[in-house]
Symmetry: C2
Subunit: 239 residues, 2 copies
């Protein structure tokens, strides 16, 4: 049996897509580079005739696309999610260009499920969405007009993933097992619960605390064992 191909562990997540044609064109772009896992978070129209038309021969990607009610659902079981974004962000996330970002994502995909996350055509990703990802990826562009079409942005990123395949052998392998989105989410909720019961956090005003903690976890790229240890400490503190 062959080991799973790293491109098979990369999911493309499109959040709040307005134009179904872009979903079809993104599916086609994915197929040209050998990817097939498409997740759609609250698409405006799907399934849709225009999506099918623009998918050309990539219908099976549309047929197996996973439609989700939230980004969290689309990121389930991933260990690394990269937010593809044109705008600079007030987040302390590590920022990569498309080429370096593809290498980072593919390097992780040898062992873990990973995601590339694309926002709405007009508004891009919200800060809340981007802060649920661990890294930011930026496609270098004309500073006076950096607005790539959604499917074109997908095409550039999946092209870079395919190009990165050839230098995969030279990537350093992470030493530990990466924590998944779900592991980190449980850790965060555990911490939040404790912060509230101890009066450190006002549950009516959790915003700043949440964002700060998510930033920290994103930067840290926690391993499974580290999450277990931290949750053990929290449990001990709860007693």
């Amino acid at each position: 049996m062959n080991p799973p191909h790293p491109l098979d562990k990369v999911r493309i997540v499109l959040s709040h897509t307005s134009h179904p044609g872009n979903i079809g064109a993104a599916a086609r772009a994915m197929k040209t580079m050998g990817l097939d896992k498409l997740y759609l978070v609250n698409p405006k129209f799907f399934p849709d005739k225009e999506a099918e038309r623009r998918a050309a021969g990539a219908w099976e990607i549309l047929n197996t696309a996973v439609v989700c009610g939230s980004l969290d659902e689309a990121l389930k079981e991933t260990s690394l999610a990269a937010a593809v974004t044109a705008r600079p962000r007030d987040l302390s996330h590590e920022v990569f260009d498309a080429r370096q970002g593809a290498r980072e994502v593919l390097g992780n995909a040898r062992q873990n499920q990973v995601a590339l996350v694309f926002g709405n055509e007009t508004a891009g990703l919200t800060t809340a969405e981007a802060s649920r990802c661990q890294i930011l990826v930026n496609i270098p562009a004309n500073p006076e007009y950096s607005s790539l079409n959604l499917a074109s942005a997908v095409q550039v990123m999946v092209y870079e993933l395919r190009m990165a395949l050839s230098d995969l052998a030279s990537f350093p392998r992470p030493s530990g097992v990466a924590a998944t989105f779900d592991d980190v989410e449980l850790l965060y909720r555990h911490l939040e619960r404790l912060a509230i019961t101890r009066g450190f956090l006002n549950p009516e005003e959790p915003k700043r605390f949440e964002q700060r903690m998510r930033r920290l976890f994103a930067r840290a790229r926690l391993e499974k064992e580290e999450v277990n240890m931290l949750r053990g400490i929290l449990s001990a503190l709860e007693d």
Copy 2:
């Protein structure tokens, strides 16, 4: 005065485009990476509402697009034309992948007009069209489904051109002045005329001769001075 930016010397040539939406999307892709010279060889529909819609903010590229009756017209004054093609070809042209091809094109654009040539959505470039270019460029893709959308292929190539900007300084500079498409065309016609008058070439059956000679000239990447010298020899032989 600033020296002309190398991206300003790169023209995007779309030959026999069927869907005007792809022309608009290609214009948008160009603008996102800082290119603005679009040449259209016998587009099926242009100008067109769908092209304008898909161009988003890149209307001025459509407004200044040069519509040509032949590929030769679109390649006027270029010294290097790269045929972007998915299929392997029975041509002896040098073949580059998208990344290396972009470097080759941009390296030349420091001194010369250059072109990236894209064929029809369904049929691609004809062999006659590709043989009028000097190099072939291939976008690495899934061997089982390598059919990129036309505008997506343009997006990948202009993205690679922009990425190549940063390592432009390290490219070797060509020593001589490159011959233009027009120079080489005159040389070819001169040679053909002589071959016919001397009975070497049957003007009813010029095909193989033409293709052979074009291949040779494409591979050689002639300099202006070499063309002058060769035409001098031909003139001497004519007397």
